[in-house]
Symmetry: C2
Subunit: 475 residues, 2 copies
């Protein structure tokens, strides 16, 4: 340790520690983005697994709170770990899935002209007092004071902040509009009763977009555009989503829609008209209503998880902060605003809730943390000779299918039987599980491929495996 303390090197002197590095080499590449010889080894993952239900319950500390399938599965499979009520550590598999989801969201938002910003969590009280939400948001706001006594809340949403920011730009022209500004950041809400794991937490990731237009008509077009981008997102994830009319709540504005994933554990009660496609959150309708307001036909009831929410705000916020632009006549004019939220961590949990079985996690293909799990034979078994073939196959996949670099995991726990490891792989929901067993010793070698999202099992040669995997979409 003394060497570390006293020997310091200028940057180019990296060579001085090369002998240390080479000693360390066998351990160096546990979780690298792999190329040849750098394989992702399952045994080295920080990913506590196979907790029994009672162990999971004791994690949460309160036995009544394990209230839905996605929460139980995510705890059992080591995808999340409780930190405090409504706050979770996201473990490595979940971080990978979330980063993929954020990339899909970025693509969709940037396709419609979205520009990404990043606003602080510490939000000064004076902004919230200006809109009267410092009082009206009540105990949902987490509040604090800094060392000088200045008051802040932790932003649950950022209408105030973004409008003040845009208002500070004094020379905006109608020619520059619309602006579609968004961020993907942590949000905070002091839920009275956090529950359902990531579905209703106190600290969570949200994508929030705010749009600024030069007229109500232009703002309506932007509103449609963002809604269509949301639909496109859920389509790409393979999640059936219903867009329903919704209450504007504390955000305000004139028009609002929610994007809902229909599922029984959902906390929102929805009505859908099978005849005319009317659909609404029941809180927007008279509770005695049983027929469709549009076509008078009977309404079908369902429950949903709100994964997105859109608002046409008009000038509610721009008038308070004086967010103006110079219009076509050279006069200052208030911006017409919209705001649009996607629950990022909530979408992850909701997708797991919708797609999984009681015991096995399933992911939207695009979001699976790893696309492929490769299982070599058990050490000491009759098929042990196939282990080398599994290693070769790993290299072939990552070389022949570049988008799968970093996506293939080798289940090197070869003290376990293939069956036990297949069971784990089934629980974790890798889209493709490839087993090198007895038939890998045939000529040509055949690998057993479990396509977990379709339920198919096929035996394929190396070329067959590569052809199949070259079709996989990775974001």
């Amino acid at each position: 340790m003394k060497g570390l303390l006293t020997r310091c090197r200028a940057l180019p002197a990296l060579a001085t520690c090369s002998h240390q590095l080479s000693q360390y080499a066998p351990q160096r590449f546990h979780h690298c983005a792999p190329g040849r010889g750098k394989r992702l080894m399952l045994s080295r993952m920080f990913q506590p697994q196979k907790l029994r239900e009672d162990q999971v319950l004791s994690l949460e500390g309160r036995s009544g709170d394990l209230t839905c399938k996605s929460q139980r599965l995510m705890l059992q499979m080591g995808l999340i770990h409780p930190a405090s009520p409504g706050c979770y550590h996201l473990l490595p598999y979940t971080v990978r899935a979330m980063e993929k989801l954020v990339r899909v969201i970025d693509q969709e938002m940037q396709t419609i002209g979205g520009q990404k910003v990043n606003m602080p969590s510490l939000s000064p009280a004076e902004l919230w007092r200006a809109t009267k939400r410092w009082d009206s948001m009540g105990r949902e706001l987490l509040r604090l004071r800094d060392r000088h006594g200045k008051e802040y809340c932790l932003g649950p949403t950022h209408e105030e902040a973004i409008t003040a920011l845009v208002a500070s730009q004094k020379t905006l022209s109608y020619k520059q509009l619309p602006f579609l500004l968004y961020q993907v950041t942590r949000k905070f809400r002091d839920e009275p009763r956090p529950r359902f794991g990531l579905l209703r937490g106190r600290e969570f990731y949200m994508k929030d977009m705010y749009t600024f237009d030069s007229s109500p008509e232009a703002a309506q077009l932007t509103y449609s555009l963002v809604c269509d981008a949301y639909s496109s997102l859920f389509n790409r994830l393979g999640l059936r989503c219903i867009k329903v009319q919704a209450d504007v709540g504390s955000i305000g504005g004139m028009v609002s829609h929610e994007f809902q994933l229909p599922v029984d554990v959902g906390e929102d009660r929805l009505v859908v008209c099978p005849s005319c496609h009317f659909s609404a959150n029941m809180e927007t309708l008279d509770s005695s209503r049983t027929n469709c307001p549009a076509c008078q036909g009977p309404l079908t009831k369902t429950k949903g998880i709100e994964v997105g929410h859109t608002f046409y705000l008009g000038t509610k916020y721009s008038s308070i902060f004086n967010a103006q632009f110079i219009n076509v006549h050279g006069k200052p004019s208030l911006a017409e605003m919209g705001c649009y939220g996607l629950g990022v961590t909530r979408i992850l949990a909701a997708a797991i809730e919708v797609l999984s079985t009681e015991d096995c996690v399933r992911w939207p293909g695009l979001l699976a943390p790893y696309q492929v799990c490769l299982i070599p034979p058990k050490k000491g078994s009759k098929e042990e000779a196939a282990a080398e073939l599994a290693g070769h196959l790993y290299n072939h996949i990552t070389e022949a299918v570049p988008q799968l670099q970093g996506e293939v995991l080798l289940d090197d726990r070869t003290h376990l039987t293939i069956g036990n490891r297949l069971k784990d792989a089934n629980k974790l929901g890798y889209p493709f599980v490839i087993i090198a067993a007895k038939r890998a010793l045939d000529d040509p070698a055949h690998f057993e491929v479990w396509c977990q999202n379709t339920g198919e099992v096929v035996f394929l040669t190396r070329e067959g495996v590569l052809e199949l995997l070259s079709q996989v979409q990775v974001v």
Copy 2:
């Protein structure tokens, strides 16, 4: 608007709004990740520019606080905007640069086996009481209570949280170690006097890694490995960085080093020995010392910005939270820990501080928000015919050099002269500025290419431009 309110569609019914979309098409692709016909237009960027110094001062509210070049330039160029003392909105260019920096950090951390996690900002007081840091961190901790009166701080660092998380895994084996767990998240520190813009803020992004090893020897190797990854990172960014011995401060532990960028505005005072490569933060030495503790030679003084900090912690935290593993003898044993921070937003600002001139931002090539700015001729000028060639060149670049998709900006403000737009481009520091002017009308067309990071200006044919740009590294 009524249509939006009452017409809701199931997902496949996207066709219903296609006429709206086609009306909107001319505006649809302002900032898209471009392909053919989808160009990034500079005029549509949310990026307030060309503020005068007095306007920038009034942004910060307190005239004495514009204390360094990077802060002034980032405010003037619309890279950041103040939200509250020590808290900044990151505007689109900065978000792009930061996301690139995070990708480089991810690559370096994952190459040495790092696994990415994500821990909440809300950190329960009981964790901090266990290590006595609830008191010892004093007023630097931002503290709050939830609606039930439970106390939290906003995490400035996460030794407590990660150690408690690892301690909760009861079945760790020495075979699984080392674990290198890291996150890139916002951190909070209630600085008595936030200043220097992103260099010393109250809310900032940090990469923090925590390592768990089975022996002091293994922990030392891990320590070297992470330090080498840091050196590799700064090398790739083209930033000269000095590793100096450092004080362990409130983190604690036995060994600590800082990674410092030498620059006059830096708040750390360093000594370096030109003869034997000893270097240290002066706070680790007796203040009267003028000669090198290692070789007794004279010491050179310099100032630096701390961009990274590493600590070998031993069992300081693992003993408190009982973070154990099963050792080779089947007995429980405390994990040997290290922790390692990189100031993400600080590295961005420090790089700008070091690389920029008084008036012009310069970025590490790898982190430049956009690699290329293309300037077509002024509308109504003699060279106006070259505008079409500039458009074609845009398409050729993004088709022939796939890594530059999303990296080329067209300065479509053709009411301005080429000279004025070149001046702006110079200020914003795009690595490559390409001008289509008079010589673009030659046969073959020649484009004027300003390589802003090397200071070269060359005239190149289309093929020459593509060859030059195909060398550009993009992360």
